[in-house]
């Protein structure tokens, strides 16, 4: 039985790691803090997987412009959501109670967080690949059946570090960032040693013959936009700790969009060179490292990838657990961390995320795109940047966001319509556009436009506006 003091400490912890709204004088992050924290996340090895995939469709110039500029534009829209978190000192999931309703937000959070965990499954797969290649170079050849079991050691180590708590997470970040950076630098050096800029520009992608240039450009744009928008479920953890909206916005944009785009571009160029050297499509960065760097440099890089991916796993479990606890504070931290680790293990053993990466990215785009669009319309246009904090926390008997039994029906209809429009214009299994609209908006872009338009349209009807704006009567 905890003492009164222990309960008070537990409550105090919720200021930085949970549900309690954080006040101005408690904020700890400036621009550079946010920039480094988001960069630490953004340069994980999944960037190389993304780079490898898009390198099969475009040449060097188109790849770089599409990735850098496309991801930055997506980031501009995404980062307008962090202003809400920073202004009120609350997690974005708390704000989304106003958007979706008290009960619907739990369903949306479960879907988006669970689907987002596919990225961690990719990291675990890369960790297992790295160790298997290292074992092979040491003379121990393991069959592919060992892959998920080796990956499980990454999941377990990450779970164990996450259970130790935020201090351990702080230390692991200090290991992860330099490891990921060194891998990036090694790849860049190996790349420039293998290929001049002129040679790089002349390489044709493996799938150069499939579809027009414009179609392949927009397919890559779709993958890049979805890759950035995928940060949405984890966006509330950092911005509530930032001292100003300006630092929060530019810090997130720089890390999650621009720096990430640079690392994905490095991965894309490497994938392009690899396809030119080997003549086959390669989306596996662990294979690149041995081919480009030989046993020494390749081996060092693989060891660093393994270390970085264990720490990335720990940070992911910790962040996702905190996000879950924000919505359900009575849940036990250890049990939530164990649940998400088990979910990750399930995805690793299934293997589908790795095998159907592009389809997975499409699902992320279809879910996260409409949600981001709805947040922007709801906060900036419908609520005109005014929300009831008391109702968000259901404090003093205020419940303006109950809507219909905890579900905001116009928002849910708009969300579902956005997802439906996504699949009307894009076939994510065969990776082909189903409509010419895709060539101008991408599927994620269209789903955002449809969701935003429908929700805004609903709000123009007087009875619906009254239904949405019950918080006006409170504050």
């Amino acid at each position: 039985m905890p003492t009164k003091k222990q309960t008070e400490n537990q409550v105090a912890n919720e200021v930085y790691y949970g549900i309690i709204p954080i006040l101005r004088n408690e904020r700890i992050y400036g621009f550079w803090d946010v920039f480094f924290a988001t960069t630490a996340w953004a340069i994980a090895s999944w960037c190389y997987v993304q780079g490898g995939y898009i390198a099969t469709m475009l040449g060097a110039k188109a790849l770089i412009s599409n990735t850098i500029f496309g991801m930055t534009i997506a980031g501009i829209f995404l980062c307008f959501t962090v202003l809400i978190s920073t202004r009120y000192g609350i997690d974005l999931w708390i704000y989304q109670k106003a958007l979706f309703g008290y009960k619907a937000v739990l369903v949306i959070a479960a879907i988006t967080i669970a689907s987002n965990y596919g990225y961690e499954a990719i990291n675990v797969k890369l960790y297992a690949n790295s160790l298997m290649i290292l074992c092979k170079s040491a003379g121990l050849t393991l069959s592919e059946a060992w892959n998920p079991w080796i990956g499980m050691t990454c999941v377990l180590l990450g779970w164990w570090i996450a259970l130790i708590g935020p201090k351990a997470i702080g230390y692991t970040t200090k290991i992860m960032v330099p490891s990921s950076l060194i891998v990036g630098v090694i790849i860049l050096i190996l790349l420039s040693a293998k290929c001049s800029l002129a040679e790089l520009a002349a390489i044709n992608p493996v799938r150069a013959g499939s579809g027009s240039n414009w179609e392949r450009y927009m397919l890559v744009m779709e993958l890049n936009v979805a890759f950035v928008i995928a940060w949405y479920p984890l966006l509330g953890v950092l911005p509530r700790l930032v001292k100003s909206e300006r630092a929060s916005y530019w810090g997130h944009l720089a890390g999650f969009a621009i720096i990430q785009a640079v690392v994905v571009s490095i991965g894309a160029l490497t994938g392009l060179v690899m396809s030119a050297i080997t003549g086959v499509e390669s989306t596996n960065p662990t294979e690149w490292l041995i081919v480009l760097g030989g046993p020494w440099w390749g081996g060092i890089s693989l060891i660093l990838i393994s270390i970085a991916n264990v720490t990335a796993q720990a940070i992911a479990i910790y962040s996702v657990t905190v996000s879950t606890k924000v919505l359900m504070p009575s849940l036990d931290y250890k049990k939530v961390a164990t649940f998400w680790s088990a979910w990750c293990a399930l995805l690793v053993f299934w293997g589908g995320i790795w095998d159907y990466y592009q389809t997975y990215i499409a699902i992320i785009g279809a879910i996260c795109g409409p949600a981001v669009a709805l947040i922007l319309v709801d906060f900036y246009i419908i609520r005109k940047q005014k929300i009831s904090i008391a109702s968000l926390f259901q404090s003093s008997g205020k419940n303006a966001y109950t809507y219909t039994n905890g579900y905001n029906l116009p928002a849910i209809i708009a969300f579902a319509s956005g997802i439906a429009s996504y699949f009307l214009v894009y076939d994510p299994v065969n990776l082909v556009p189903k409509s010419k609209i895709f060539l101008y908006t991408t599927a994620t872009g269209l789903s955002m436009l449809v969701s935003a338009g429908i929700y805004w349209g609903f709000s123009l009807l007087k009875p619906v506006n009254n239904y949405l704006r019950k918080d006006c009567q409170e504050e």
Binding site: T7, V11, L23, S65, R87, R246
Partner: protein, 57 residues
Amino acid sequence: MKQVDNFMKKLKEEIEKRIKMMQNSSYNYVQRFNKRDLIYTVFVGLFCILGLIWGIN
């Protein structure tokens, strides 16, 4: 169960205390994303659109 109840009760008290403090907007005012930031953002967006057009040609 009692531990959870105690924790939730304390948590609610702390949240209510902070909501009252936050209702005094000057107390919790953080520097806003202002017009200058918006102009920079539009500039970055336009630059990116030009970059995308350059990439496809």
